[in-house]
């Protein structure tokens, strides 16, 4: 079995993002970038499946500018076998990413595709589902547990009501929740070995797909600052306000 894992380079989750003064986006210069956190869970799960003997090869793929390769390199350091970097500059929407991935799937023919459930930059939560639609594959989103069976996966999903279990036929797409596993650390020797693993670079413009953005970003601004409300004098007044004014209890 072959597993394709898609990873994205995003602003590190610890960094306090700053909106640019001109409203065109957020500051990314000199800002620590990392792999999108649930993408780390996706890689980890693929590696675990490979370690259990149920998968032979893990291919890590990213779409983005040159430096996006770092995320593939990190995936290689924790157990992916080889990497693919689709070079694209500028904004790229999930629809375009899924079309690019569709092209790569046609070529690579993986049995499973894993990725994080959502990127922490644009918070779209779309790519996995879109790719599943384009390929007409089943989708198991927000996975917190994956059991590999003969020709299918049994996946536990984190949904609002609790947990849902579905069985999806292979080939399938799984988007991973942070609760799926605890990603391992890359060890020094593995980081060194990863430097020697191959990363195939493909120019996004050569895939013959229209990847132009369809959504115009008109402006990006800081969220409005919340204003202080009122001070209440007693608990009774508080409860009365919550009940009759805010109507939340």
């Amino acid at each position: 079995m072959k597993i394709l894992v898609a990873v994205k380079r995003v602003i590190d989750y610890n960094v306090q993002v700053r909106v640019k003064e001109d409203g065109t986006g957020v500051v990314t210069e000199n800002v620590k970038m990392s792999t999108n956190p649930p993408d780390d869970n996706a890689i980890e799960e693929a590696v675990k499946i490979k370690e259990s003997g149920k998968a032979k090869e893990i291919v890590a793929i990213t779409v983005g500018e040159d430096k996006a390769q770092e995320t593939v390199r990190k995936a290689l350091a924790v157990g992916a076998d080889r990497g693919i970097h689709i070079k694209v500059d500028g904004t790229i929407e999930p629809l375009a990413v899924s079309k690019i991935l569709q092209k790569i799937v046609d070529k690579e023919k993986p049995d499973l595709i894993f990725m994080g459930k959502q990127a922490i930059d644009d918070d779209c939560n779309q790519t996995g589902q879109m790719l599943a639609a384009l390929l007409n594959w089943p989708q198991a989103t927000f996975a917190s547990k994956i059991e590999v069976k003969d020709k299918s996966l049994e996946v536990t999903r984190e949904v609002d009501e609790g947990l849902e279990t579905i069985e999806v036929n292979i080939p399938a797409i799984v988007t991973c929740d942070l609760r799926l596993n605890e990603p391992r650390y890359a060890s020094l020797p593995n980081i060194m070995k990863a430097k020697k693993k191959p990363i195939e670079q493909i120019n996004g413009s050569e895939l013959g797909i229209d990847i132009k953005p369809r959504i115009e970003q008109i402006k990006v601004e800081e969220p409005p600052k919340r204003k202080a409300g009122i001070k209440v004098a007693s608990v009774a007044e508080l409860v009365q306000k919550l009940k009759n004014e805010a109507k939340v209890i």
Binding site: I11, N14, V17, V19, V26, L95, A96, I120, D121, D123, N125, Q126, G128, Q129, M130, L131, A132, A133, L134, W137, P138, Q139, T141, F142, E154, R157, V159, D160, G162, L163, E164, T165, I166, E167, V168, N169, P213, I215, E216, Q217, I218, K219, E221, E222, P223, R226, A228, G229, I230, K231, V232, V235, A236, L238, V239, K241, L242, A246, V248, I249
Partner: protein
């Protein structure tokens, strides 16, 4: 221009987030139709038809739709999408799972998780976990949109009488099989999705004292949160932590007790609809974001709070 909204329900009743989504959808266009897909959904369809904002209900009733699998729902939605300018649903796990599958087949770049309708093609949506707001304009002919439920009030549920049209099922999927759904057995809602969250901070002074919080959480059917300080002090486990490295929560009501309001904590809860702060330090930063602040000793205020709640005849849960 008309809007097609995909209803979320459990075959018996409409899920509340659908009502919030209906409010947003009717801000896009008054001509709002709701697609109800499920098994034995007459009652659900009827209740939706009574929502004044809804102009038409399309019901697709078949046993294959008992459990909402995106693979099964998508062909139905695609089939009915033709006459609509917007396909919308709520941005909870239901809509997040479903809508992109629809959008891709319609070759539409989806706009996720909107918090404001600026015009029928322009929306406000949070990015970077709410640390920035983006105004975006969709240039696709047909627009696929998911709606953050907590940003819109629920629609009225009675007074309307929309027409209900029955439609045929599509072919069932062979790709995916539903196995089971386990409602989390906890007596308490999940922190991430609870309508009410009550959190304790370092001011609780001990883990033992969290029982004051628990009693109120029981009464309000609220989830229990905590500040990092309380977690670090060992009063409560870190899966309760709200804030930067913990969870971001956006409940209707957030009650912060004995929490000073470190900016990391504020980042995790400041999008809540109503914030209540109970703290004896009147200068605590938490008061700067609270809709209702009570300057009081929490060890006196919490028992009183419970007592007052007990006096109420009804409590929304």
């Amino acid at each position: 221009m008309s809007v097609l909204l995909i209803a979320e329900h459990n075959n018996n009743e409409v899920r509340p987030f659908t009502l919030n989504a209906i409010t947003a959808a009717s801000q896009i266009d008054q001509d709002l139709h709701v697609l109800v897909i499920g098994k034995k959904i007459d009652a659900v369809s009827k209740s939706i038809s009574e929502i004044p904002n809804v102009k038409k209900v399309i019901a697709v009733d078949n046993e294959i739709y008992e459990n909402y699998l995106a693979e099964n729902f998508t062909p139905v939605i695609i089939k009915h999408s033709e006459n609509y300018s917007h396909i919308v649903c709520s941005a909870n796990t239901f809509g997040k799972n479903l809508m992109p599958r629809v959008a891709a087949l319609l070759d539409t770049s989806q706009v996720s998780d909107i918090i404001k309708v600026i015009s029928p093609d322009t929306f406000l949506r949070p990015i970077y976990a709410g640390n920035a707001f983006a105004t975006v304009k969709s240039n696709d002919k047909k627009k696929c949109i998911t709606i953050r439920p907590t940003s819109f009030d629920p629609a009225q549920t009675s007074g309307g009488s929309a027409e209900i049209i029955k439609a045929e099922k599509e072919e069932a999927t062979s790709l995916t099989k539903f196995i089971k759904r386990e409602e989390v057995k906890s007596d308490r809602p999940e922190l991430g999705t609870a309508r009410i969250v009550i959190s304790g901070g370092r001011g609780m002074a001990s883990g033992e004292n969290f029982k004051l919080i628990t009693a109120i959480a029981d009464k309000l059917n609220a989830a229990i949160g905590a500040s990092r300080a309380a977690v670090d002090a060992g009063y409560i486990t870190n899966d309760h932590q709200v804030g930067q490295t913990g969870k971001v929560v956006v409940p209707d009501l957030y009650i912060a007790v004995g929490i000073s309001g470190a900016i990391q904590h504020l980042a995790g809860m400041k999008e809540s609809k109503i914030i209540v702060a109970i703290n004896k330090d009147g200068e605590a930063p938490i008061f700067s974001v609270a809709d209702y602040g009570l300057e009081a000793d929490l060890f006196e205020a919490l028992p009183q709070f419970l007592e007052e709640l007990n006096k109420l005849n009804t409590i929304q849960k």
